[in-house]
Symmetry: C2
Subunit: 193 residues, 2 copies
């Protein structure tokens, strides 16, 4: 194991799902890629995303106080690159990259047509930590394409690998829940006797 | 696309990396699995984890004000199940599951021997959101096993698929960064002329 005290690289938790954050404000629509996001709470349902204050998306969220988080399938990795490596300050991403979207069902947020799932989020808190702002959004509606979620498992979700690389999970998966753990505990306990 | 207004299921952002949160407090060592965590800031380096206040880990962090986040390789999925589906209130997970760990280099946190990477984190903020507490940790040291990070990309990181299922990313990955995006923009622009 290598140890680093002051590393400026933190790619060890990748691959991580790509969240495409969408905002509408004063008629402007913008999307950006986020690799820093997480579920926050079940009840109420909250989702958190980290946005740099330098981002155009941040200007828009400051006005709209709402956003969407869109999840893509692997084959749409280019969309993540398009909206992640350009700025809405300079170009109209939706127009240039011909991104199709619909309005949210509950909020005025853009639901990306290519998304396999989308959370409509209303900002309930925001807080600056270091060089990013954490936006806590209450999920007030969820869109998903049932073709990509079999038995509640997505099979093709786009993952960000760091270093501008994209990947996805294998189709292999293994179940190891409470029942399996309890069985193993029984085995361990009986071995020790 | 299916739309749900009040869904209690939020598995659409999975598969998500598994973070094994480790704490030492008053001589007690405990690990738990977390599927809700994210990088928060580069400078200073901050990492956030969500912990239910009901969790034993929460009691320990409240005292120690520090924690480790350990990342596993896929073949160690059982460890995630072991520490995720049992409670340190009832059993000594380290003893029962024979978990090996060392002390952090900077903080009094446990570094799991099976981890392919580990962040040593000092709590700099905590905040309750809904049914979970967000702990913001400053990363003061990083451990990683160079064998699992080639060209800064991990190949076998354990991912949680939801529903007690585990998976990992394929070895396929594709690069699509600023240069590739700029080239596509040139093509798009020249086509439109």
């Amino acid at each position: 194991m290598i140890f680093e005290k002051n590393s400026s690289k933190y790619y060890f938790h990748y691959p991580f799902p790509v969240g495409i954050v969408g905002v509408i404000s004063s008629g402007k629509v913008n999307f950006m890629s986020a690799a820093w996001h997480t579920q926050i709470s079940f009840a109420p349902p909250l989702y958190g995303v980290l946005i740099s204050p330098k981002r155009y998306t941040n200007q828009l969220i400051q006005k709209s106080k709402m956003f969407s988080v869109n999840f893509l399938k692997y084959e749409d990795y280019k969309i993540a690159g398009y909206v992640g490596r350009t700025s809405g300050k300079e170009i109209d991403k939706v127009k240039l990259f011909n991104l199709k979207y619909s309005q949210g069902k509950i909020l005025e947020v853009p639901v990306l047509e290519n998304a396999i799932a989308c959370y409509e989020c209303k900002v309930v808190d925001e807080r600056t930590y270091g060089d990013h702002i954490l936006y806590i959004g209450e999920i007030v509606g969820i869109h998903y394409d049932e073709n990509f979620y079999k038995d509640n498992l997505s099979r093709e979700l786009l993952l960000y690998h760091g270093n501008d690389r994209y990947t996805f999970a294998t189709t292999d998966s293994i179940k190891f829940g409470k029942e399996e753990v309890q069985n193993e505990i029984k085995n361990i306990t009986s071995e020790k006797k």
